[in-house]
């Protein structure tokens, strides 16, 4: 560090990197390049048709699905089960979660049972549900309901346990009624956790419905994939998988949208 006493040295900038910058065009470019490479590989024969069909064939499979009306049939069947099971499971889960979070007696009675059922992989219950509810819609809807219910209960009462006690104290110090405190303080304070849990349960619900349809169904995306697989129709199989990816993305987007609407107090 020998510098002459009277020379000035500009301080070098060393604070770059390790920060996140937004980049809107990178991901579409990567996506397009990957598809192009895949297409090129298939056309030139590097990629065997038995492993991966040409992307154009997947597009054709999609087109067939659409033209024959099978798209509507399968997606419709899956969506119906998903929406019904997931909505009921979420509503019930939030209600039970609130009951556990707010009343010690309910917690003492239900929390251990919930804890015991929660870790069971719900797909293992499908055979039982088929015996109880039959092979039709009811067993599948109930499976999703069950799969959604328990994580929702646990997330909801966990969220209530974590509500800032000083806010509740504040409410009590102004003589707010129990109902007001629950509705205006406890509920909005736990909403962020409840909503982010919905992302997780939506993914669980999609996993469960596909698994259930793979095992026992005539209609639905899972059944469609199962049929395509047994016929070695990889193009159709891939079309089914892409539909699942889209369903997941849409569910995620819908929840993100709800979050932005309901939690606009959180960020600008």
């Amino acid at each position: 560090m020998k510098h002459k006493k009277n020379t000035f040295i500009k301080i070098p900038f060393r604070g770059s990197g390790f920060s996140y910058r937004k980049n809107y065009w990178i991901s579409p470019v990567v996506f397009i390049v990957l598809i192009a490479l895949w297409h090129l590989g298939s056309t030139l024969g590097f990629i065997s048709k038995l492993v991966l069909p040409n992307p154009t064939e997947v597009v054709i499979a999609f087109h067939d699905l659409y033209v024959t009306g099978d798209l509507y049939l399968h997606v419709g069947a899956s969506l119906k089960r998903l929406i019904l099971g997931w909505t009921l499971g979420s509503i019930l889960g939030i209600i039970i979660g609130f009951a556990i979070g707010l009343f010690s007696l309910v917690r003492a009675g239900l929390a251990p049972i919930v804890a015991a059922i929660f870790p069971i992989p719900k797909i293992a219950l499908l055979p039982l549900f088929i015996i109880w509810f039959g092979i039709g819609e009811l067993s599948k809807v109930n499976l999703i309901l069950f799969g959604t219910l328990f994580p929702t209960i646990i997330a909801t009462y966990g969220a209530i346990d974590n509500v800032d006690r000083s806010l509740i104290r504040m409410g009590q110090s102004f003589n707010l009624t129990w109902f007001s405190i629950t509705k205006k303080i406890v509920f909005p304070a736990s909403l962020p956790v409840i909503l982010s849990n919905m992302r997780i349960t939506a993914a669980i619900a999609i996993i469960l419905i596909v698994a259930a349809e793979l095992i026992a169904a005539e209609k639905g995306i899972g059944a469609y994939i199962q049929m395509a697989g047994s016929l070695f129709a990889i193009d159709r199989l891939l079309a089914g998988i892409i539909i699942l990816s889209c369903m997941g993305l849409i569910a995620n987007w819908l929840i993100g949208f709800t979050e932005r609407k309901l939690l606009k107090w959180r960020n600008l």
Binding site: S166, R169, M170, F174, K184, A189, W265
Partner: protein, 253 residues
Amino acid sequence: MELVVEGVSKTYDDLLVLNQIDLTADEGQIVCIIGPSGCGKSTLLRLMGGLEEPSSGNIKTRGSPPSDCLNALTFIFQDFSLLPWRTVESNISLVLEDHPISNKEKQEIINSVLQRTNLSEFSKRWPRELSGGMKQRVGIARALAVNPSILLMDEPLSALDSQTSEILLNDLIDLWDKQRFTSIYITHNLSEAIRIGHKIVVMSRRPGEVRETVNIEKALKERELRNIELEKYLWDLLKEEAVAAEREIGSET
């Protein structure tokens, strides 16, 4: 209203936090409580506000609150305790909603307290958009909205920088001058206590006891910025206790 604390003790499990506290806040008087950290000041205030129950002794009020008083004993909190999902206006409306008042009246009360705390132009803002000083103004506005007869303040200015707290202190003094509420005011800041207290209660370290009570006769409006002599007197009372309290183990908060 007058607030009377008679022989109040409080224990948590085996921990004696407050021991035989006696004190009175007369009508229209501001009583400042100072004492070392962990001596039970916040606990005492929660007891006074009915948020906790004393292990022994009594806390009473005397006299009746003003006729339009909605919540006689009202807190102003150190951490503001605003609901982040409600705007300024709506945070104030929160404490009115459980009372049978018309929307028009509610809006009038809100406008009036916002004006008294210089917040009118911020009525539609979210708490996160406000500075600390502004947040505490909302806390004060919310307290004023229920027209309290006793204000319980737990270090209301200690989360603010010193310039902001100076401004708010003057605003509180102005408010008191207009409304003459009774108040218990907890602080760590001796000069703050000397500026706003009619009576200063010095507490000992845990278990908290009343060590000394100092009355200051001079009207709030006429007080100087500092009263070094009195400050030194109070600090001498506190010093030993504070040094010992600071070295104590297991007195979190």
